[in-house]
Symmetry: C2
Subunit: 444 residues, 2 copies
């Protein structure tokens, strides 16, 4: 059986381990952290994730979907909180019943590691730091814990699932024809917490809470322990200028998020602001994703994106599923499968990356615009009556596995149809108006 070396035991690495274990391959996973199941506090990325169709389908393929979904909180709509701290408006994500699932990152990761570990053909190497790819020797250079000794690890297939700052990727920056970009956005984020009130959720649990305020935005997602992970996104400039001391922080929340402030509590708010700094948000694109018929970048190593479409994890999980599908199609011919994968997946990854960046604008501001709301309403209405013909952009991304690049093509077609319909409507209105006027003045 072939051997796959997986760099990184994060979400995408651990899911890949499950896929290849079921395929019967020998699986080795190298992870620089200790086993997160034994850690008290796991530093790093945000706590909450929104699981949707692509992610669910990938989990289903390894038999984990139902178990995971049961341990999340379903969200059926966005609930937009206005600045008065009282009024709200609700925007359903799709048709009645369609939803996404709020999931705890750490729990999800732990479940997948335990699942993978259950297979005989899977070996985890925690506290082994992946340093680089040696393309000449076709090995991964891994540093052993304590001793610092470097090992050359061989594999028929090497999956770089080592995140947005991938060491594998960095060591391959000088490979000719490797296109790459990393872009930080102006916004950073800080994670807060809303505790239960009287043993119950302090806010409505089954919605995605949103406080859009132009250039900055607060969101809150429910957890099964009845807390809400609450995240403030704002430009670093705003953090510096308007939230640099306790008084200003309270003032800022009082002005813009009065209802949220009541739920978070002033003391907890200040404790968090004094303990942690705003984190950066990065967007990564590269092309190709595969090298030398053996190495493949997956998940954030291939396409880290800003979190505003809730597709980072879902795209990463779908990567695993697409790789499985390509290996099936190519009868385990690794070189051929990687070539097809990279050709198709680069385009899809670039597209969802751009969509996430676009949604960054949308979440910030557009949700409050009338034209945006009308379009949302029209899309859902049309979708209800023409469910297979007219699927809204968000629904295609979130509730289907339509390849991301096709999603955008369909959206362009929709825009074209609406534009033409509007022109016809306008022409009819003008003609009708002229007719009525002519009648009125007895010219006809």
């Amino acid at each position: 059986m072939p051997k796959v070396v997986i760099c990184g035991a994060g979400l995408v690495g651990a899911l890949n381990a499950c896929f290849f274990a079921r395929r019967g391959w020998d699986v080795e996973i190298y992870e620089f952290r200790e086993d997160i199941r034994q850690m008290e506090h796991v530093p790093g990325r945000s706590i909450n994730l929104a699981l949707s169709c692509r992610g669910k389908t990938a989990l289903e393929a390894v038999g984990l979907k139902d178990y995971i979904v049961e341990q999340g909180v379903k969200m059926f709509a966005r609930l937009v909180h206005n600045q008065d701290g009282v009024t709200m408006s609700r925007q359903p994500y799709g048709q009645p019943g369609e939803h996404i699932v709020s999931i705890n990152r750490r729990h999800l990761n732990e479940v997948m590691i335990t699942q993978a570990e259950g297979y005989d053909n899977v070996k985890f190497f925690f506290e082994h730091k992946v340093r680089q790819m040696d393309l000449k020797k076709k090995t991964v250079v891994v540093e052993q814990p304590d001793t610092g000794v470097r090992l050359d690890v061989e594999g028929d297939l090497i999956l770089a699932c080592d995140g947005a700052h991938s060491a594998i990727r960095r060591s391959m920056m000088a490979v000719p024809q490797f296109n790459f970009s990393q872009e930080y956005i102006e916004h950073g984020y800080i994670e807060l917490n809303i505790l239960p009130e009287k043993d119950n959720f302090a806010l409505e649990p089954n919605v995605f809470h949103l406080w859009p305020r132009g250039d900055f935005t607060l969101i809150a997602l429910a957890n099964t322990d009845k807390t809400f992970t609450t995240t403030l996104f704002a430009p670093f400039r705003i953090f510096e200028e308007r939230m640099s001391n306790d008084k200003d922080v309270v003032q800022f929340f009082t002005e813009f998020f009065p209802d949220a402030l009541k739920k978070i509590g002033v003391d907890a708010l200040l404790e968090t602001f004094n303990r942690i700094k705003p984190q950066t948000l990065i967007s990564v694109k590269c092309k190709p994703h595969s090298f030398a018929g053996r190495v493949l970048f997956m998940g954030d190593a291939a396409h880290a994106m800003v979190p505003f479409y809730g597709q980072g994890m879902n795209a990463g999980f779908e990567d695993c599923l697409v790789l499985k599908e390509k290996l099936d199609e190519c009868n385990d011919d690794i070189e051929k499968a990687l070539e097809v994968y990279s050709r198709e997946r680069c385009l899809d990854a670039h597209t969802i990356n751009d969509l996430a960046m676009y949604n960054y604008l949308e979440l910030k501001d557009l949700v409050n615009h009338l034209s945006y709301k009308l379009r949302k309403k029209f899309d859902l209405f049309a979708n209800k009556w023409l469910p297979s013909t007219w699927v809204p952009l968000y629904s295609m991304v979130t509730f289907t596995r339509t390849p991301y690049h096709k999603v955008v093509e369909v959206r362009k077609w929709q825009d074209q149809v609406l534009k033409q319909a509007f022109n016809v409507f306008l022409l009819a209105a003008v003609t009708g108006g002229a007719f009525v006027a002519a009648k009125h003045f007895k010219m006809l």
Copy 2:
């Protein structure tokens, strides 16, 4: 006196050494190659460069301009060779007398190293490989020759002049807020040679020879030894599909560059094609250019560009001059000077990068379009009568030190003026036409 550590003794590194030597600073330069003055063959980048105003001004500031320019060949126009192999058309670069200078890269680099070495406060360390920047210790990690021992080199200012694949830059990829992109274009290039005929230039020497053929292009620049460095730019796909064997190569040149083929010679052409492979062309952008008040990316490490505006070296030399100016303005306050430099220079570097990419299209194809030629002619005509008001884009880039970002602003203003003038002309024509028609039909 402060100490500057320069990584790389290429064109930009060596020129920086001259600047800081004159400033009286202690200068250390680390270069992974041996001293190119003692090498028989220097591998790497293309042989020929076009020196223009920005580069000249920088060389002048260290007293090298006249000496360098004398050893180059002046070029006053593009000479476009048509596919029939006989007819040609001439496009002057500017007003009579305005020119660029064809220079040999190696010779230029050698002269600058010798010049820098003449100062007591300059030390060169050849065969010392710069490995990375250690931002915590604020040192450059340099590998000694033979022993491979790594040294920590300290400096008040650290200039990364280590090229498009800068090791310093690579070691800083994970610095928060560092935006970076590298993009390879579809085209590669192969350098050929046209030898003298009867001890004289085989083609007219004082022009830039150009054979534009849509998707691929041949250029030739004269050298003082009466040879011409001749470069074919074509998509890798075309190299593979249409130049994969001797017969096809000859067929390709016979079809598209018949006159050039006669000068190059079939044997020499095939010898080159069998010896070397097409080289890649990369475009690099990053932001910021400075870090921690101490490290600065310059030249290709900051802004490698495609070679189609002939500005790569000129922009790199201007970097050195701008740094000198900023240090002067800030009274040698390094941190402040770097901050101002990076803020202004990033924008200019991005702009010339984009212009070079745009000229990639122009050189490929546009030069043969009527509208392009008319605009060129109009620009030069307007410039002749309004020399300070109307300076063509190419002239601003090539014959002035107008900051690159301003060049583009001015060009936009020019486009606007022309558009409005055209509208007025159109209105006048229509009105006049209507008037004449009305007269004709005796309606007035």
